[in-house]
Symmetry: C2
Subunit: 145 residues, 2 copies
């Protein structure tokens, strides 16, 4: 179904604007919540994906976090410089770059649940459980996986 | 109500991750949709807010789009360099910077509804009208205004 036409498209109330804005808010507030761990919210996404073994290459990470390949390369450079992860060439396929968390990377990822939930609970404090579940479901549907 | 505890906080399924990811997707796809207008999705937010007169100063814009003040300054520099808007000091209060769209800025803002809705309709094509409305309502509740 077509929810928007040229005529109905409104500047400030459209879903695209709201998503971009909510994404900006979450990113900024999560950066603040993670200050003591000295990682940003974007770096957090990478560390957690690797901790859960849901991504092990730059390409998989870029897809999973919906970040373009160029930005992902720069973020991995920074994480490697900060001793949070290591890159290594696959021994089977030299074109493939494998990523592994360092010891420090594992420690930081393990500490995240002490810092991150508070910020989200603050934003979600007026949500009923049904609304919370529904927002998650609709965002997943929007992302399309 | 507290929706997350340290134990239940999950890396890839939490709302923060989904919002950041949906925000990244919208931004990247909208950038592509606006290529012919030679503006980015972030610049779009500024132009539309000014067109609708919902913001007229850098501070108002930063708040409205949930972008920090430093990034907003750099974006306004770029829009001014591209002849899309002009800054002027208020005659009543010299500390206040007023922003106005240039003629070209008005033209570009007016052309946006021909380009932007298609991208959003694509992402929303499996949404019923009730789901579409509910996503908008829940995002607004999350943003908190």
């Amino acid at each position: 179904m077509h929810h928007y036409t040229s005529a109905s498209f409104s500047a400030v109330q459209n879903i695209g604007h709201q998503l971009a804005r909510a994404g900006n808010l979450v990113t900024a507030e999560m950066d603040l919540a993670l200050k003591d761990l000295r990682i940003t919210s974007r770096q957090l996404g990478i560390l957690l994906a690797m901790q859960h073994r849901s991504a092990a290459t730059p390409v998989e990470l870029a897809k999973m976090l919906s970040i373009d390949a160029g930005l992902m390369t720069r973020m991995l450079d920074k994480l490697e410089a900060n001793d949070l992860l290591k890159r290594s060439r696959s021994t089977c396929d030299r074109r493939r770059v494998n990523l592994v968390l360092t010891e420090r990377g594992h420690e930081v990822a393990a500490a995240v649940p002490e810092y991150a939930p508070k910020m989200l609970n603050g934003r979600l404090k007026r949500f009923t459980n049904a609304e919370f579940e529904e927002l998650g479901r609709l965002l997943q549907k929007f992302i399309g996986e």
